[in-house]
Symmetry: C2
Subunit: 342 residues, 2 copies
């Protein structure tokens, strides 16, 4: 089942059920108006949405309409919890190396996770607005899960049982603001602005055999200004799977329905697969550069576009595309047109 | 106006309006059922609650009932955003010194803030359950504000305008889990379990002249097992006021209605005022100890009780008391009775 949230001017939008091929949709009115409602009462409401999804695929839904990703807010426009991991070690390694540090032994023993803001997510086609182009604007191609209630002390298997939905995420970072915040040892706040999420959240069964061991075994495509910068395998190199991330979080607390847990930037050891963020590309270029101190690849500029998408083994877009423009006060050129959905 | 949330078995509870002396209350049914609803539509709903509050104080509310803090959940049982500062420098200094570090210059230039979990807050009389007494269980006497919508780029004055409600908080920490998490530079996750909040959230006008310059100029009383451990002045030594904390957060993002911003442990340079957490008491004792390496004051044990309260200049409890028992699996004595509200 695929679920989306249509913008209707309200804070939480309107829940819609979307067909597997993302061509048609149907308002879930009569079952639930908001996704959080469904998460709060999953066992009662999700079978009803599932029934509507079946009817929609049979072409029998009475008020189906063409699905328009540009109408979407984030599937959960705001959430009661968000925690992001750095579950792909090549990403972690490259970023630490760029700052002259090696990865601490403790970082491979348990996952690195930090809480993040969750009151103001961006929709998949919404501009990402930044106050200055000097902040080191970077995208981050990532996956995330939305959980049900998971009790304190859950193990990785119980954590995995708590996964209700999966999403595609663009985890924006302001890289030039990171070092000052990390030096304080309190984690990142200003350097982690509002994240964006793909048009639809999907139940794990939508992934078929690609959902295995708490990992998504598919390729995440990242493009900047229409040029591919990453074709990263999200499965094999996810060092801590989603169940393990959830277990780490629940060591000392409950997780409640609607918590979003992010994977961090999807990354591969093989640099030939490209990168899910600019920071890794810069870090690798730095190492490969004949002359140390050679000018690094630039961060994103106001007006740049970022497009993230993941195709299933059937060739269909799993989550729909995230296609955002970098916006900011220094924009002196008109907004570039973003490319349409596949 | 004072607002509380009665437990009714639902995730968000039932909104009640409470009298200034915390003696009587009235369900807000007909206006709003949940506090988040009011925050989402503050300008329309808060005047209606204010009218009900006036009627309640006139003794004319038709279905008033005695207010019972034990029935309360946190005023916002879950929130879309939580960020906690370390706004009192003596607290920061003592904790850093305990770990052999001095306070970095950058920590006084801007506030230290980290995101925290917000999907599962504890009520004021709810046991705080911990998986192990070896985790360095500590309370944290703090204040917090709930904001309305505050736009990106707000300054401190605009941040202050965004304050809708104030709360008393018990910001639990697991001190023995902190060093390992801080070494990773990603902030605290496992070491910051669910926080608790006092029975009522209050509009700033309830504080009268004690609310000044974004600070609460009143004394925060902390007691462990019935013995006072802190009588801390919350006003003058709050280095960054709430408006400044909000401005720091909004540098790169919007804050949306219902965001909770915490002050961190209230603390004074004068050790004669005692402490709002065990960690500071230990740190000061360490410095004062004739013999280095003398055994430190213990962390909280399973069965211990913590009581936090703040009285107004009229002698009335502003927020009601937080009175929690430390619970855990190793409990081999029956729960101690907690003391009743003032």
């Amino acid at each position: 089942m695929k679920l989306a949230t249509y913008s209707d001017g309200s804070r939480d939008g309107q829940l819609v059920v979307v067909s597997r091929d993302l061509r048609v949709a149907h308002f879930a009115t009569g079952i639930a108006t908001r996704l959080q409602q469904v998460l709060d009462d999953w066992n009662f409401l999700s079978p009803q949405l599932q029934d509507l999804s079946v009817t929609l695929h049979q072409g029998k839904a009475r008020h189906a309409f063409p699905f328009e990703p540009r109408q979407c807010m984030a599937p959960l426009p705001r959430a009661y919890q968000r925690a992001d991991a750095s579950a792909y070690l090549p990403h972690l390694e490259r970023l630490r190396r760029a700052h002259g540090a090696t990865i601490p032994a403790s970082a491979t023993a348990g996952p690195l996770i930090h809480h993040g803001g969750s009151d103001d997510f961006l929709g998949p086609w919404q501009d990402a607005w930044f106050g200055s182009a000097d902040w080191g604007i970077d995208f981050g191609a990532a996956l995330a899960v939305i959980t049900g209630d998971v009790a304190m002390g859950a193990d990785a298997a119980q954590g995995l049982d708590g996964v209700r939905l999966l999403m595609l995420a663009n985890d924006w970072s302001l890289r030039e603001l990171v070092p000052a915040e990390q030096a304080l040892g309190f984690g990142c706040v200003q350097s982690k602005p509002a994240a964006a999420f793909g048009p639809v959240a999907v139940t794990p069964d939508e992934l078929g055999p690609a959902w295995q061991g708490g990992r998504v075994h598919l390729t995440l495509q990242s493009a900047v200004n229409g040029r591919t910068v990453g074709l990263n395998e999200a499965g094999p190199e996810m060092h801590f799977h989603f169940g393990a991330l959830i277990a780490h979080l629940t060591r000392t607390r409950n997780l409640r329905a609607g918590a979003i847990i992010g994977s961090g930037t999807v990354s591969n050891q093989d640099t030939g697969k490209g990168f899910g963020c600019i920071a890794e590309r810069r870090a690798v270029a730095q190492v490969e550069a004949a002359e140390p101190g050679a000018p690094a690849a630039p961060w994103l500029a106001i007006g740049d576009t970022v497009r993230l998408e993941m195709l299933g083994r059937d060739g269909l877009s799993v989550f729909g595309a995230i296609a955002q423009r970098v916006a900011g006060p220094q924009a002196d050129t008109p907004p570039r047109a973003t490319t349409g959905p596949a």
